[in-house]
């Protein structure tokens, strides 16, 4: 495993069953949270490094307040702390928030943690100058909730604020389809138990279409390490 593997920082992931009828969850915050609560400890241990695409986005940027949306174990919140006076991390999984808190304490960075839903953010309009929304959008279903979460990101970004958004893509070589699809990707715990996680795998055109349908202003999109990326601004 390397830091550049994108959302297949593969450890723990088992090959995707691409059957569209294999949904373990409905993709709402409750079930995504429950799923990650079950695997939080092991998952967090395999998510050590910030993604290089996030590092590149942050280079040269600074803000008063930054948001890590779907913060997981806080690996990107840790980076954001070098670029903002205050960092807030939101996740749907209580278990992962506990992991993020432990990481912040161990490594000495400050992050305010909030348990919440990406499609219904509990933050004021224009609250953030910088945001990272990576490897989270693809856990939401249906499409309306994914677009709603992009609208919410637009709402909480300050007028000059910028965010980087990513989702797992059909461009990744583990997927054979060229069009976006719903699937379940198993997480294998050390004891061998598998936990299915809902994913919507985006094709790049569909990713752009969802961004365009939202209130976000798209500055740039690209595919890297099997993920779709966009740099976006507020409305």
């Amino acid at each position: 495993m390397t830091a550049s593997d994108g959302d297949d920082d593969t450890e723990g992931d088992t090959p995707a069953g691409e059957a569209a009828d294999a949904h373990p969850t409905t993709g709402d915050a409750r079930t995504v949270g429950d799923t990650y609560d079950r695997i939080a400890g092991h998952f967090a241990k395999t998510r050590e490094y910030a993604w290089p695409e996030v590092e590149s986005f942050l280079e040269g940027r600074r803000g008063a307040r930054a948001l890590d949306l779907g913060c997981g174990n806080g690996r990107h919140a840790e980076r954001l702390a070098e670029h903002a006076d205050r960092v807030v991390g939101l996740d749907a999984s209580r278990g992962l928030l506990a992991e993020a808190r432990a990481r912040a304490a161990e490594r000495g960075f400050a992050v305010d943690l909030v348990h919440g839903d990406a499609a219904g953010l509990p933050f004021a309009d224009d609250a953030f100058d910088l945001a990272v929304y990576v490897a989270t959008l693809h856990h939401l279903a249906p499409r309306e909730r994914r677009v709603a979460s992009l609208d919410e990101l637009a709402r909480v970004l300050a007028p000059e604020g910028r965010a980087v958004v990513s989702a797992w893509s059909t461009a990744h070589d583990r997927f054979e389809k060229n069009e976006g699809f719903d699937t379940s990707v198993d997480w294998t715990l050390p004891g061998g138990e598998t936990v299915g996680r809902f994913y919507h795998i985006y094709d790049p055109a569909e990713f752009e279409a969802d961004l365009t349908a939202s209130a976000l202003r798209v500055e740039e999109t690209f595919v890297s390490s099997g993920n779709c990326y966009a740099v976006v601004g507020g409305p």
């Binding site: 915050a29 749907a92 305010d112 943690l113 909030v114 348990h115 219904g120 509990p122």
Partner: protein, 64 residues
């Protein structure tokens, strides 16, 4: 959570301001308490130092 977080958190449903009631505090951390929406009256618990601001229909119904 830090009390200063009140500057940016709002009700996830109607985005109105929240009112803070502290039950337990340690140093400058609020360990437990309740956030109440000043508009719709919905309440959100602060548990183990982390505010649970999931929309009400998505959070666990088990009361702390």
């Amino acid at each position: 959570m830090k009390e200063s977080l009140m500057d940016i958190i709002v009700c996830p449903v109607d985005k109105h301001d929240l009112e803070l009631a502290v039950d337990e505090e340690e140093a400058d951390e609020i360990v437990s308490g309740t956030l109440t929406c000043t508009e719709c009256g919905e309440t959100y618990p602060i548990e183990d130092g982390i505010p649970n601001l999931l929309p009400p229909d998505m959070r666990d119904e088990v009361e702390a």
